[in-house]
Symmetry: C2
Subunit: 292 residues, 2 copies
């Protein structure tokens, strides 16, 4: 298919590369233009703006950092909307505010362009290996048209509802992750202070009601006080901000998520934002004096 | 083996029954004596006191509700300690304070009796099916002597350290469960208010970093606002109290666990203590006005 791809960061670049490798005709654009070069070397065309990147394309992907970036590349002065043709589909894979997604989808619909919100989980490793989990909001018909492309990028493609529902699902994902990390960190701090056999403890917990991806994959690092990536704290903090704002708009109170957001704000402010989000354990360990 | 079993509640009764069915010579005692009758009908001998229940036994199990109950049945006036013979083993499968366990183990050791703390997870279903997870603290040698009996009761028997370590592991288990339930409840409240396809959402989340036993086994009930057992809120609240006291003794701060304990205190006080602990979602839903 004729594909445009806007946003070649840690996630976007390997995704665009996979689409190229799968034989699609891919044009790329990135605000910092040098990032386009490795993709061009691999066979992609380059576009000077999101608008140019959208001209003549059946599907345009966006993968940017936050809501304002998405608004700029879609409806800004040189935004994709000015290049997209009626009947084309914009697939936004960024994590942004559900309300902004719905607003943009409305603007695009008025011009005959379908928009899907399709945020992902699985990190840069998932982007490279095509094993992302993609949560899709929008019209089922548009999803079916782009599904072959999404299947190049992800292992599970789940349609979770109308426009914005993909972003809501991602927000729910990040809320659950927040509290699970904090709880496992509290449990590990107690274990460290009480002095149990750590390996045996993790073995005993893993199969029961305390079991989780976080426990299986991050508890050992928390016990060691090491936080290799994984998923950056500052990005999870950004996502939690979106989730908390959405919850606030809907009148939903999420004290645990709000508390973890505060822990993460402190970590980001102290320069730990590029560590893995499991570093909430750093604060919990500090509160227990484990590294004194 | 010649076995005594003290405490025939929801957990203890099926455990004693399994030991009988496995061919062991079992004497039982329960404070409310009528509870002994079904076990006696199945072939157990009855003892009028914990002391009597311990006489001539190689191994005595205790399965009671809380720390004071354990102290009463072990070192009270008619406690097992007065009947236990040197060389025997007391296996306490209750969930109690680690400090109390260590104190009792010390008193028993002075009389030549080994004590293991061996709290379990897996609920009454696990007790009936012999699929409990058993976290054992104490001497490895004593554990090896009773392991054939524990294997009748549980599927995984994990030695997690010296006396008290089993109780610490159980405390860590309950701390992690607390925050995981609360986080999944917050995520589900957001999902309910935002209106996504619930079944698709759970499918999308289950395989990723938000995945947990709680998400897989309790999120559907939280979405429905139904809280069938499972594990009683008042018992989890009791266990969290033990974990928070232990944490406090050790100088470990656990704000998420403390917050969930407060939610559970409210639920117990309002008469919901016999519902499943997933009813923390009841409060989270109330805070979001979902059932208004």
């Amino acid at each position: 298919m004729r594909v445009g791809f806007v946003g070649l960061g840690t996630m976007g670049a390997p995704m665009a590369r996979r689409l190229l490798a799968a034989g699609h005709d891919v044009t790329v654009h990135n605000r910092t233009r040098e990032r386009e070069e490795p993709l061009a070397a691999a066979g992609a065309a380059r576009a000077a703006t999101p608008r140019e990147c959208a001209v003549g394309r059946e599907v345009v992907f966006t993968m940017v950092s936050d809501t304002p970036d998405l608004e700029a590349v879609v409806v800004g002065e040189d935004g994709a909307v000015h290049g997209l043709e009626p009947g084309s589909v914009l697939v936004d894979m960024s994590t942004v505010a559900p309300a902004a997604t719905r607003r943009l989808a409305g603007e695009l619909a008025a011009r005959g362009v379908a928009m899907l919100d399709a945020p992902v989980s699985g990190g840069s490793e998932g982007a490279e290996n095509g094993t992302l989990s993609v949560m899709v909001g929008g019209e089922a018909e548009a999803l079916e048209r782009v599904r072959p492309l999404l299947e190049v990028l992800g292992r599970t493609i789940t349609h979770v509802g109308p426009s914005g529902a993909g972003q809501v699902a991602k927000a729910v994902n990040q809320v659950i992750i927040a509290g699970t990390y904090a709880s496992v960190a509290e449990g590990m701090a107690l274990a460290l202070r009480a002095g149990v056999d750590q390996e045996a403890l993790l073995r005993a917990l893993a199969g029961g009601a305390a079991g989780s991806w976080v426990l299986s994959n991050r508890a050992v690092n928390m016990l060691r006080g090491e936080y290799p990536l994984g998923f950056r704290t500052r990005l999870h903090r950004k996502d939690l901000g979106i989730a908390l704002a959405e919850a606030s708009d809907l009148g939903v109170s999420m004290p645990v998520a709000a508390y973890v957001a505060q822990l993460e704000s402190g970590l980001v402010g102290r320069g730990y934002g590029d560590e893995d989000v499991s570093n909430v354990a750093r604060v919990v360990r500090e509160m227990a004096g484990i590294d004194d």
